[in-house]
Symmetry: D2
Subunit: 345 residues, 4 copies
């Protein structure tokens, strides 16, 4: 069986496994005060070009979004997201569960428009009934987006400018950040993110770790008593070393970027193969590890016998949109094998 | 000064004031267990044609929406509303504050479409990732809507049918219910609401009371331990008699409907006057006590010297949409005086 | 029937009823921006000797406690209360519902001890695991307490001093404040409260109003965006005039204090009568409008035929503790009649 | 340095590390639907003697307490705990953060008394003002307790009987369950827990795992839509295999009990050594892996140069209570070395 169904159907990057083994006998401080976590934080600060950044490690993506958004907002404030944003669709209402409204903006290839953002926010702030309304005080975007697309540096700067103009904060969900940073044509870097965001997270779970995300608050901007609030949310790991060590490894010798490049390159091959054999033009502009195609039902059925992938959405009576995902764990041979299969169809 | 700015800028209907005076010396049970509340509940049950209905009295509209929606939903469920619904715009995120997502549907003249409702709900329920999503389990509509428009009985039945088909509950915000029930051409009655809803409230604050709303759960459908949950939300009045007595009065000798007819008739006169003198065609199809017009800025300025009304939204460089509201407290002479002013313009 | 069961089984003080009638025809601004509320706030500021105090009007006691405590605390903080405090027992967990822990201290005749408060707070602040704990950041006391007892000015100052020393805020629940201020031997004044608290509320519902409490934040100390948070909690009255007008009346010509003195004097007579006829020594040191006695079951049964009062707690096989309450609505003749009844027993 | 400071200052049991390595290359289903988790659940069901038990895996202890308690309770209900219970002291108010009151009972050597439990619950249920109160609907106990002590089977049965009599549920926090089950003199088994509880969790983080706890709801008793609620709480691991595989290993060939026996035996040696050399009688009746001693300050200082352990509480001017903890990772040689050190003192 070939696995292109998602990027967290695998274990952990071998380099991480190795270090887990090497360090297993070591005693450490708990709750993230261990030396592995300290080292990882230092490496991340360096990669972000911000020696003052606050870095915290959490276990998963929805948890990170939920805790960070709750703590960046005051209790009466809300967060703006694309209507397709992960927090608006696939987190079981976790943001609302902590008491905050999600303001949904239209999506354009997975992204929000700075103009529509400005229209929303300026409209609410200018409204005479403003004090009867939830206050949109934070913008949430995902990079890459839920459909693998990216904001350019210029687009990020535009959104950042709107945020500054109206006093909003900016938070970037980087669950698949490595695949975005490494993408062909991408001009956004960790440093650039650190300069333009109030918070972002560097995804581990989908980029080589067995679990864990690294939250970065540039310029010492962690929310007040953030450690206690992590605990209050049930999100504090007793053995913080587990995530610390993983990020220490991912940020050693460029492993994190190397994983991104590897998966993106294979994804570009998929894109090429599906087109070359006339199966489907790419159904999205994604240059990252998620690729979308529109396939005939009979092709889907034929492929499914030997390939795992996801039906994304129905298109018409005889076609569905499907998603193929590569990861650090995908091998070039897997793509070769897929190509063989497609050739035969 | 003439007051057309809203329907809660006034005191209470004189009949209520009179009864407050007559009963002031009486000792009663507390927390809504008094005889006035019992009588009011009985009258409301009768007006709804449902002797088994559970009736509770709360103090205001946002409170009622917030408490009722929270208690009708389980903690992981959400509520569907028109994007313009009061809960989605003007309640400071009170629904989200209690942990629930608001799913916003497009609005059509203030109303939701049963087809768009069905598309949303069937889509989510059929989604393979359903268990990762907030579950839309309740539909919220306002009658009249925020712009004074009404659902026909047939439209309500259609929404009700979608709710039944997909296992959702239906809740009607009747903050201005009296003005809707009494409107020209309306074919919805309290009995009809009771038959088609899981909960609705009969607005008092905007329809003659000094405060208070009556929540009706037809067929004994009050949420479990609803009294305790009202208390938990800080919404229990120690002197429940205050709201009970008001509804007892409003539902004696047809006062509630009489108030509605009075205000609607004056609103229809406004509609006629603005058209007759060429100031503005009506900007909404409302047949209830809120009327919207598009006026030139210079007209607005001229009128504002002697008339209170609300700017609703900018239209173009020289026009705004404005809102004129009548109520039980509006007198025919007020409309006469407004007509005189307009005639002079 | 004679009514000594509670202080909110009645209507409103006649002076309030009269003013409701006089002002009923007036149009006003909404949501508490009316002239009556403005005047009431001014009078309250003056009575508190603090022209910079922020004053807000809410509908009831549990609501006020819940909203004020939630807004004075940050999300990870908790509130300290006597184990018998209203928020810890009789508010259906409303404080916890907004996410905050209640730390319970032992009660001494309804009051907390500054020493036990200091022990609790200093212990937690010095604890090495402090950041794993809810942070007690606010002290809640009731004046009078739930059993009618009072803190002296000196005791309040001691609690205040502990709060200052450890960075806590102090909030006083004054649901029955009038009966406390007017009590024989009391040396606490509104000015004194304003000097020693971060927030307190002046109870209306139990002291002559039909509903409503006035929250005072001395020295401009209202929580950020408090209006919006009141709305978010469902606690904003559309016709804010209802409570504003009542407090304007209560703070005109000393009415609030006069109500307190009236009820306290009658309560002292009760205390005297029960002792004089050998029925019971007072079971509490209360000098306010709640009086507690220990009566034989047969006396309770005999009295209950003609008198409403509350069984408070069982004492032994043949005795219960009972509560008698006076209010602004209690008449001297009611106490005379009760005395006659007791004389006959 | 010798490490007796806690039981989560280490890595993972070597058997787990080995299996992580062996399975790392395998593709699996996500979110806990993988084969490792399925196998682990089956083994746990078997160990509990309940083939119908629902089993879920979460990441940590506070998270598990918070999610399980929130989901076992209805929104207006509260949980009863010893005043020293982990949820009442060391979880940053996580239970209250989800809206529920914690009712604190006195502790007796870390445990609650069934009689005091019955007094609390029967008192509240019989109270005439019951519907104004939070409803204690769940009992939380920890086994072992926070100070390492255990309930006997008979004591558990007594608490269970009170729960049944008053309609409460019973939840056991088993963060250190293995050390309890294996303790000398313990007569409680997994089967016994399953028969007497509505939910309990088998601690992994402190008993050999790198992270993870297994929640058991006997008799198919998982809360409605529990998967979605885990997600809503931010507690769902994308790679559920991480915890599943660990528990699959811990419940293979009796590893879980073997870890418990190992650590408890070493803890008993500590108990013996401190007494034998006259340093301290044991300060608690714990027969599990946490041992408490009262030491002179100068002894503490001397030991601390070569041994990590925790100061628990001040005792008098010259003594502190200290805690020594063993774990799966403690070696017999560590205890030998400690004995040598003590001998020298």
């Amino acid at each position: 069986m070939l696995y292109f169904d998602c990027d967290y159907n695998n274990g952990m990057h071998p380099a991480i496994l190795r270090r887990l083994g090497e360090t297993n006998g070591t005693y450490t401080a708990t709750y993230g005060y261990d030396a592995f976590s300290a080292s990882a934080k230092e490496r991340i600060r360096e990669a972000c070009g911000d020696p003052t950044a606050d870095v915290f490690f959490l276990a998963g993506g929805t948890q990170t979004n939920s805790v960070v958004i709750d703590c960046l907002l005051k209790p009466w404030q809300g967060v703006v997201s694309a209507v397709t944003g992960h927090i608006n669709v696939h987190e079981a209402g976790a943001v609302e569960y902590t008491g905050h409204k999600v303001f949904a903006l239209p999506e354009h290839d997975g992204r929000i428009s700075p103009h529509e953002l400005e229209a929303l926010v300026s409209g609410i702030q200018a409204d005479e009934t403003f004090e009867h309304m939830s206050d949109p005080a934070l913008v949430y975007i995902s990079f890459p987006s839920e459909t693998g697309t990216l904001y350019t540096a210029g687009e990020l700067a535009d959104i950042h400018a709107v945020c500054r103009k109206y006093g909003l904060k900016l938070f970037v969900d980087g669950a698949r950040l490595g695949y975005g940073l490494a993408a062909d044509g991408n001009d956004v870097t960790l440093k650039y993110l650190a300069e333009h965001c109030d918070a972002f997270y560097i995804g581990g779970t989908k980029v080589g770790a067995i679990c864990g995300e690294a939250v970065v608050f540039p310029r010492g901007g962690a929310p007040e008593h953030f450690f206690t609030r992590i605990k209050q949310h049930g999100a504090l790991l007793a053995k913080g070393r587990l995530v610390g060590l993983q990020f220490d490894t991912l940020f050693t010798d460029g492993l994190y970027m190397q994983i991104g490049r590897h998966a993106d390159a294979l994804a570009m091959r998929l894109r090429d193969i599906f087109g070359r054999y006339g199966l489907s033009e790419p159904a999205s502009s994604s240059r990252t590890n998620q690729q979308f195609f529109i396939l005939e039902h009979r092709v889907i059925e034929a492929l499914r016998k030997e390939v795992c992938f996801e039906k994304w959405a129905p298109v018409d009576a005889s076609h569905d949109m499907v998603r193929f995902v590569t990861s650090w764990a995908t091998k070039a041979e897997d793509v070769d094998a897929l190509e063989e299969l497609i050739k035969k169809l």
